[in-house]
Subunit: 239 residues, 4 copies
Amino acid sequence: MSLIEDLVVAYRTLAEEGVIDAYGHVSVRSESNPKRYLMARQLAPELVTENDILEFDLDSKPIDPRDRKFYNERYIHGEIYRARPDVMAVVHNHAPAVVPFSCVPRSALKPIFHMSAFIGLGVPNWDIRDAQKGTDMLVRTPALGQSLAKKLAAYPAVLMRGHGATCVGENLQRAVGRSVYLELNARMQFQAIVLAGSKGKITFMDAKEVAANVSWQNYDRSWNLWRTRALAKLKAEKS
Amino acid sequence: MSLIEDLVVAYRTLAEEGVIDAYGHVSVRSESNPKRYLMARQLAPELVTENDILEFDLDSKPIDPRDRKFYNERYIHGEIYRARPDVMAVVHNHAPAVVPFSCVPRSALKPIFHMSAFIGLGVPNWDIRDAQKGTDMLVRTPALGQSLAKKLAAYPAVLMRGHGATCVGENLQRAVGRSVYLELNARMQFQAIVLAGSKGKITFMDAKEVAANVSWQNYDRSWNLWRTRALAKLKAEKS
Amino acid sequence: MSLIEDLVVAYRTLAEEGVIDAYGHVSVRSESNPKRYLMARQLAPELVTENDILEFDLDSKPIDPRDRKFYNERYIHGEIYRARPDVMAVVHNHAPAVVPFSCVPRSALKPIFHMSAFIGLGVPNWDIRDAQKGTDMLVRTPALGQSLAKKLAAYPAVLMRGHGATCVGENLQRAVGRSVYLELNARMQFQAIVLAGSKGKITFMDAKEVAANVSWQNYDRSWNLWRTRALAKLKAEKS
Amino acid sequence: MSLIEDLVVAYRTLAEEGVIDAYGHVSVRSESNPKRYLMARQLAPELVTENDILEFDLDSKPIDPRDRKFYNERYIHGEIYRARPDVMAVVHNHAPAVVPFSCVPRSALKPIFHMSAFIGLGVPNWDIRDAQKGTDMLVRTPALGQSLAKKLAAYPAVLMRGHGATCVGENLQRAVGRSVYLELNARMQFQAIVLAGSKGKITFMDAKEVAANVSWQNYDRSWNLWRTRALAKLKAEKS
């Protein structure tokens, strides 16, 4: 019950913070059964309520489909949960400042802002063509999900060329927070690249700083704010 | 009735998404008579309601003008409907990140984001001076509308130099969605051009990816969100 | 009465459109006495109501000061009304994308967007140091106002280095519209300069296009929208 | 009582103006005891109310902790109040356009906009590694707070590499106003750097202009606006 409410908060927050348009999604691993995960039916994040949440198995098949439709790209979630037992939450976003970094080979995301320290653990860039050519860019099959999960490996996030990113975490608030701060880091790094010019130097966080930060960074204070906002909005919608 | 409501939703959405200021407009071909189309009287999109919608013939003459005023540029719509029997909806927008691309000969829009795949079908750039010199830049005559329609040819959108763009589709939601994602692609491509620098490479969607995406991309989930938002706002305005 | 209401609409619109922060102001020449103008007491534009509007003479002295405080820079208005009998409304703004253009000698604003055609009539750049060195940058005296008015000459707007801009018009809606579209043109031109690179060409509006556009461009449809928005907000504040 | 209300207004304003995310904070020196300061418990600024305000001594120990949690970085505040008897208010922000300037050695912030004249007094850039290597970037100890206060010296603000900035003032509204206009200056200076290109010149405020402006600039009119907005929102939350 509480986990479903948190998942609705996550959907609403990702929409509110502008890192997903109508097409992103977020899931959380079931607390009672690690071989299942919770996610919304096919619906824009801004509209998701508790009634829209369903359970899926690791093949991304809905346990109780009824007459509902599902995200075509649910294999992103199922295959990452299968490959990464440590991951409890997955966000697939279309963060707008991140996409350009996924399309320019010479520019890799690096941690420029302490709230985005997790980027220092590495954020690989997945090109769907390495798995299958001629797709519509969507992760529509288990095989594509497996390819993405393989590229993600043990990292906290993976870019998807011309598409967006997928962020993971040990809990919902970390996967959501990483999505928000991946976008903010991309905006800041873009500006730093321009300021530095072709020969200028940019000071990124060093490896020790990254390690010292990611060990505890759970986005608690943000989550408290996001949760307060989302619950107030949900309450207003009901009345 | 339902088509008129959808057209009002389209007006409100284009304003809400920031791709038209007070001066853009959207139309839809009549369901009962393919030689007619529906469009609002001369009014800012944010203010349009069902009572403002009128019918026009393909010469862009209002069927029942009464004392109302009409968009000077209605010939954009009439001449495209005449030239393109496949087109059921037309949006003329002032998308702010698109205008700079229309003014820089060396920069053509290319599909960088999978939601904007239709750009890969080609988006020509129309300079009104090729049809007539010394205008105020507005498509005020049938001849100018025909020139624009000729430049559009069979493409999904056409830029208008120093002015904006016109996007078309087989239905309203596609023409609206293309307007929103043309703008978003322009922002992302701008950033990628900066990141790539003068010698860097940008990875755009390839032709097969474009083809695989545009065959089905109807912006259904966005439309559902936009419609829900717009109808809620219209309801609040009435009470 | 109606002119005062329009002036309040102008204040609210400039704040809503983001071209003035707490420190800009707008005035209108009196309809009954061309040697007087109407402007608010010293107050952030977002808070201005009809009760805050006062009358000033062309020396920028309030006719009925009572215990109220006035904008230090009211001489911008009085001296322009004195020098320019054709001007009926003046806006002093801090348009954020315009300021950088005022600080970079090699970059002059040029008309890139048809809604901003008036820029093609010329927008000079005033450096307060040419009139007086060591000021706090504010137009605090009649002499500074006269210097600004002289630089404005017969143009529709003048940049103020490191400060903002002043836009004028034959009526309120034109001065407000020019403030909004000066900012939008600056944003678009900035992007075009980046896209064009150091050797690229930008296609601006040509002189005939500018002339054909400015002859009629009154921002009527925008004004109708802005007025509707502002009056709805004022009504909500009262209830 | 009134000072506490002002402090709540400051929290709300910094969130509303987008210069702090969930993690910034603002404090004010006690009026009755210069060896104490007031600050909120650990909470996102957007949520702070009068009940969340506590008193701290200059060692940043809460006078009446009860069961509440405190900002890890409260030493920023205590150590600056200790080192700078003239400072009555301190803001620690994560202003997003400022961070890139803190990471690019060749780019120093300079005053480009008259509302940001205080930058001309000097804004040094603090790298936490000069005090301690391998931190998580947070000012978690008195020693780190002292190092930051030493870098701030007699200046009005100090950047914190990869983190944000700290702004101080003789009163709350000045520390808040400086945070808002530090961000706006960073955005304008970024654009000017791009417009100027590698060899272009940018005209910043000169030393006399800076001096003439900072002598009186108190952001009174902004503060009146911000206070009106924040109190209206607080009132709406209670009802």
